[in-house]
């Protein structure tokens, strides 16, 4: 009886925790995959994996990075399981238009279109930093990169994005 009550409480707490983090997790998965349906599948599978591995989460305050790591691994697994057809990035932008079109201002949509075209190695650390609030050290740990490599990628990511959005690059550091 007590076990059942404890189990119910544990489930409820875990569910509430995941639910509170879900928008962030889904946004992260979306920018990882650039595909809403795939992002939903990845998050759903990740939640199941997280539930099964919940005993390994010793500190609930570390739930977000723990879940983000599970999502990154689950996303990688989807590529191991099946080979996705190569698609044109412009088609991808058009396909995701309903999700992207929510921005009222054109300049926000310009940034989103540029983000969709940004290579993975630049987009992922940028999303971790700007959307998830990761420090350089945390990104380095998550992506298994050195600190300087992360800084270089973040700098390059912003350069590419700003160039794609027609920003004035005259004051940018020269390579």
């Amino acid at each position: 009886m007590n076990d059942e009550v404890g189990g119910n409480q544990s489930r409820a707490r875990f569910q509430a925790l995941c639910q509170s983090l879900r928008p962030d997790l889904l946004r992260f998965a979306f920018w990882l995959s650039r595909d809403r349906a795939l992002a939903e599948d990845v998050v759903q599978e990740s939640m199941l994996r997280a539930w099964k591995a919940r005993d390994s989460l010793l500190d609930e305050t570390a739930a977000k990075p723990w879940l983000l790591t599970i999502i990154r691994r689950e996303y990688a697994r989807t590529f191991e399981r099946k080979r996705f057809p190569t698609v044109d990035v412009d088609d991808l932008v058009a396909k995701e238009e309903p999700m992207l079109a929510a921005a009222e201002e054109q300049n926000i949509n310009d940034v989103r279109a540029a983000l969709m075209k940004l290579p993975d190695e630049y987009r992922e650390p940028l999303v971790l930093q700007v959307l998830m609030g990761y420090s350089t050290a945390e990104i380095a740990r998550e992506l298994e990169l050195s600190g300087p490599a992360v800084l270089t990628r973040l700098c390059r990511a912003r350069q590419l994005l700003r160039a794609a959005c027609g920003e004035d690059l005259s004051l940018d550091p020269q390579e």
């Binding site: 489930r11 928008p23 300049n107 926000i108 973040l154 912003r158 004051l171």
Partner: protein, 85 residues
């Protein structure tokens, strides 16, 4: 003393970096201050761009079958359509 290239490379990697050397350079250099302001305006756009809208409910229940398969007859994880995002 940090030069312009070092400052701009560092600030492009993290526009909100509170590092004291970066702040000192920014306060001493009008051009790098202007660059930072330009970069922070773009950063605000970037932050908003990343916050894509999340639908409140999903019409698709295709995950439901998979969830049931995973969990058998026991507790079921609510399918995506039942989540409050």
């Amino acid at each position: 003393m940090m030069d312009h290239t070092q400052y701009r490379s560092a600030i492009m990697a993290d526009p909100h970096d509170p590092d004291a050397d970066l702040r000192a350079h920014r306060e001493a250099c009008a051009e790098c201050r202007a660059f930072t302001e330009q970069l922070l305006r773009f950063e605000a756009r970037l932050e908003r761009a990343l916050l894509v809208d999340i639908p409140t409910r999903q019409s698709c229940c295709r995950s439901r079958a998979r969830v049931r398969r995973h969990l058998g007859g026991g507790w079921r994880w609510p399918p995506a359509c039942c989540w409050r995002w």
